[in-house]
Amino acid sequence: MLRVAVVRFPGSNCDFDTLRSAALAGGDPFFVWHRDTDLKDAEFVLLPGGFSYGDYLRSGAIARFSPIMPAVQRFAADGGPVLGICNGFQILCEAGLLPGALVRNARLSFVSRPVHIRVERADTAFTNGYQRGKLLRMPVAHGDGRFLALPDTLREIEAEGRVVVRYVSPVGTPAAGDDNPNGSANDIAGICNAAGNIVGLMPHPDRASDAAVGNTDGLGFFTSMLGWKIPAKGGASV
């Protein structure tokens, strides 16, 4: 059973959804508190959605200095798979584990509704269970979800194919009108680092993983963990 740590910050509110999704996918998930300093031998780390520290200063800006974050940084630097959903994505960007930033939605209002996204990368730790080009429907619920990066960074993200999911129309054609719910650059809904072990996205696969809620489009983010080959750790071999 995969050991999956779900990190809880004060203000996390998708922690149980995320834990349950990981369990439905066949993992052995457990909570790690933000004041903890080790990840309890986790093989995967999930940063759930919510409003850590009340989104004070900037979303994710204070959570990134939580006592648990140095352990998350080391885990990620060693190639450990880390998924940030919504507020978790904001925290990963603030922590410098992913490039860019998430700022106030272009139309200013909080957006809570289903959106459509297309899988652009099907070889990451959290999307290898999908076919590239797969159209998914799942909810967003955020006020600060507009992805931005400096022009050079944005070009690099696109050139290296690091867009994991992109907002599209309900039939999978390029986003028009409100299809992109927040004004994100290039309709970007989620990105990964160069190695593909760190993934962040604004939509909520954790709210679309259980048949009981009528939508399991997001379950693949969690079952993909089963298909990820964990790179061998450095140091002495056994």
Partner: protein, 82 residues
Amino acid sequence: MSYRVHVRVVPRAGLLDPQGQAVEHALAALGFSEAANVRIGKAIELQVNAGSPKEAETRVRQMCDKLLANPVTEDYVLEVEG
């Protein structure tokens, strides 16, 4: 010595500032059509113990770079009182 430091964090030049735009439209609706390029940021004031104003400035600059501003989306200016 204790120094009062004022930090002003504003959206980076050239970045769409939807809050600034909304306020600009509201001002125009109220008859203040001369208002343009409205930008909305935040003001942070803090008291800093330091040996000199220069030292206070250096420390607060570090605070800005590390936490108070996000270099991807924001610029900041700071001013040490006295």
